[in-house]
Symmetry: C2
Subunit: 211 residues, 2 copies
Amino acid sequence: MARRDTHELILTTSLALFNARGEPNVSTNEIALEAEISPGNLYYHFHNRDEIALELFKRYLLEVSPLLEPGGEAPALEDITLRLHLLFETMGRYRFIYRDLADLYARVENLRQAMNGLLGRKEAALHRLVGRLRDEELMVIASGDEEALVANALVQMTFWIAYAQVRDAKGLEDGTALTAAAARVLHLFIPYLAEPAADGFRRLARAYMEP
Amino acid sequence: MARRDTHELILTTSLALFNARGEPNVSTNEIALEAEISPGNLYYHFHNRDEIALELFKRYLLEVSPLLEPGGEAPALEDITLRLHLLFETMGRYRFIYRDLADLYARVENLRQAMNGLLGRKEAALHRLVGRLRDEELMVIASGDEEALVANALVQMTFWIAYAQVRDAKGLEDGTALTAAAARVLHLFIPYLAEPAADGFRRLARAYMEP
């Protein structure tokens, strides 16, 4: 196998194992075993598990970034629902990152700062989306309420995985924790949306909750 | 000093140190030093840090429990704002518990189950409060919206400390993270409240945010 393919194989194998069992519970030997390569070969690519976790975090950032950029040709409403959907999907694919943030911060240097930066960009993106909804006269919201809406959405988007781990760990495997969290974020917007936008969000939230 | 007083001194000293620096970063020797007792004396009362953390968690549960019980003579609106205030205050006093939930779960047996039980009781209490507001015709909310409101409030109440740690760690020391989180939870209710209840919540939220 080419070196580049092995590098990739290690990352995809690690991601699957980290998501399924939690990153602290997976050893590099187990990753090598699962990837059917020697521990020495793995070590050639990554010196330890933290390096793998950091590389995966960087990939997560790369995948999330376009979803947080301004612009987009689509009407605000479609744009928002699509972005939210893709954001949740991306978080779900890299969910190990959100399982135990404090532990990752403690071990992987600069991760807290990187996460703080990411949250700052998510916050700005949410404010831009609210602004577009307001410009298109789909939303009426006072500025104090907007601050709270954005912060509540951010907390929900950051901690739905940790919350599901306590309350409904199975939901993380079958995807119902993700759809429930996406529906909860839609519900944060509903009270400030004009009809028929509010009803559109409500129907979308219900669709998320259906099996 | 009487044995009972030493026991108490260890707990209050530990709580202060855990809150300030995070429970994983405090050793039993440091607790003994700060409490001005010998490590042997501390060991006589608690065999390790996990025992202290568990004892503090039990105290937290004891203090929180009355706030989650049904009943109360006060009108729903006063009752809710007072309970929310006291809940946040109690979480703030025991905030080390919420700093790194996953780590505590991993080390202290049954803590995840205890936390899940606590969240279940908080959820029931929130639904009862919404029911009382509805009975007193202060609130209009569809049942799907109520589910989302209660879940959003629960996630906010459980993770505001972890969120502040990433975004604004100083706010945990000076209390502004707590008041901002309490204001965010009030804002979740506002869209469903009739006037003047909505305005009362809005003013209370603003008061929380003022320095």
